[in-house]
């Protein structure tokens, strides 16, 4: 069934994408940041987003995390509208209650970690499961400790973030997001604020997620090598649109568009 503006009230069928941006537009006042964005991400797919500064990469993730309202189009997650809700056969902008019911599918890690400074690593991970999901403390502790083990932070579980290095904080932040069991994980330049020597400890965790878990992931990154290694697909953003996208080998090995070529050669020179 279609809304009168032509958007489906629900996406059904075998190949329903886990995430779907349909003609999504975002502007700040007169500045249009994203224009008619169409982007589908399949369940279990790892999509990297690259592009120059200000091209709208972060904005894509923030809209999906519902940190930003969109100005046009519809975002679907797991076939159901996220940015909108059905009402009388039409899609209307989502209210807070709808957002809360749909947001549970999505988790996000930030460039600056954003751990809660007044809680230990373990408490950070348990907070969502206990408060939001309503798990018992014991269940939440088990789940969190397992995840902290996975990210190699179990020995620091009782430390507050101020006592942890950037790489350690970011790994805790990944565990915290995973503790909510999201279907989709968003990573916004999670290594950009890190010292070079600790970047590996974070990228290794993400590698492990890709190989061992069936999460759908969107990752904004400036690390081209990493994106090339682990992505199923790479999207090159330019000026608020997807200029070019494809499997990493193609996009990095044989870019078709001039802007992609320019960007990639500029990045290579910088290294």
């Amino acid at each position: 069934m279609l809304d009168k503006t032509g958007f489906p009230l629900e996406m059904t069928g075998e190949d329903t994408p886990m995430v779907s941006f349909r003609k999504v537009r975002k502007s700040y006042g007169a500045l249009t940041v994203l224009d008619d964005l169409d982007l589908d991400v399949s369940a279990g797919e790892m999509v990297s987003i690259i592009g120059p500064s200000g091209s709208g990469k972060t904005t894509v993730l923030r809209m999906l995390m519902t940190l930003e309202r969109i100005n046009g189009g519809v975002i679907y997650v797991d076939g159901k509208p996220l940015s909108h809700m059905p009402k009388g056969g039409q899609l209307v902008p989502a209210n807070e209650r709808h957002l809360r019911s749909r947001r549970a599918d999505i988790g996000m890690c930030f460039q600056h970690f954003n751990l809660f400074p007044h809680m230990t690593a373990l408490e950070n991970c348990m907070e969502g499961p206990v408060q939001v999901l309503g798990l018992s403390k014991a269940e939440a502790r088990d789940r969190s400790e397992e995840l902290l083990e996975m990210v190699g932070m179990i020995s620091k579980k009782d430390q507050h973030p101020s006592r942890l290095s950037g790489g350690q904080q970011q790994r805790v932040a990944i565990a915290r997001a995973l503790a909510m069991r999201p279907k989709v994980m968003l990573f916004d330049e999670v290594t950009s604020a890190l010292d070079p020597e600790v970047i590996g400890e974070v990228t290794n965790v993400i590698r492990q997620l890709v190989s061992e878990h069936n999460l759908t992931m969107l990752m904004v990154t400036h690390q081209m090598g990493f994106a090339r290694d682990i992505s199923d697909r790479v999207c090159f953003f330019y000026g608020g649109r997807i200029e070019e996208q494809g499997p990493p080998a193609e996009l990095f090995g044989n870019p078709q568009r001039e802007r992609t070529q320019q960007f990639l050669s500029a990045v290579r020179e910088a290294v």
């Binding site: 809660f116 939001v132 915290r176």
Partner: protein, 221 residues
């Protein structure tokens, strides 16, 4: 020394100590009202309702720009015309609590605004409700930077309790006045009141600083 009478001093001391208790109760109760109501006033200014935000902000401004003594008179003398007949104690607590709530709401507001945007976003990413965001994430981080201001107003409310004497609350100044006019001697009672205020205010300021450090450590900040 200025004809200071020690035996008279000892004689009036029990009454002054008793009044000190009243002063502390008045300051404490007023402060509890101010702390709780102040937080409510601060949060009310952050609701999506423009009308509520505007009304509360104007109210806070109004209270902050009029003298406390006027507010005390208002509650006690004007209240009955609206059918609100309160004892001097109740009127005093309400007036002083309300007055300081408005000051504290600004302190809280500053504390809340000092919490980085990323903390709100992390709370949203965990799908918290508005109440959970404030209770679990924002307020615990807003309190430590607000503690210094909260401490100043605790001392402030204590030093303002003498205003309650004007409606007959038997706090220190009221009692010292009474002693003075009964005995035609004001030197000892007023001096003692000054010493008592000093003896409480000074250590309180130090204790508040210690407490602030303790809370920060406790929260891992």
């Amino acid at each position: 020394m200025f004809d200071w009478k020690w035996d008279f001093t000892w004689e009036i001391l029990p009454r002054l100590v008793y009044a000190t208790g009243n002063t502390l109760i008045a300051a404490g109760a007023g402060y509890v009202i101010a702390v709780v109501l102040g937080l409510m006033l601060a949060l009310a200014q952050r609701t999506p309702s423009r009308a509520l935000t505007f009304t509360v902000r104007e109210f806070v401004e109004f209270i902050r720009s009029t003298p406390l003594i006027l507010q005390i008179f208002f509650v006690f003398y004007v209240g009955p015309q609206f059918g609100v007949r309160l004892s001097p104690w109740m009127s005093g607590m309400i007036a002083i609590g309300l007055h300081y709530a408005c000051y504290l709401s600004e302190v809280y507001r500053g504390g809340i605004e000092s919490v980085p945007k990323g903390q709100w976003e992390a709370a949203i990413a965990l799908n918290m409700t508005t109440a959970q965001k404030y209770r679990r994430v924002i307020i615990p981080q807003a309190i430590p930077p607000a503690l210094a201001g909260m401490g100043n107003y605790l001392v402030g409310i204590f030093k303002d309790t003498p205003m309650l004497s004007v409606i007959g609350v038997a706090e220190l100044i009221h009692t010292a006045n009474a002693i003075g006019s009964e005995n035609y001697r004001f030197l000892e009672p007023y001096t003692m009141v000054g010493i008592i205020f000093l003896a409480i205010s000074l250590p309180a300021a130090g204790l508040i600083r210690l407490f602030e450090g303790y809370v920060r450590r406790k929260l891992g900040l």
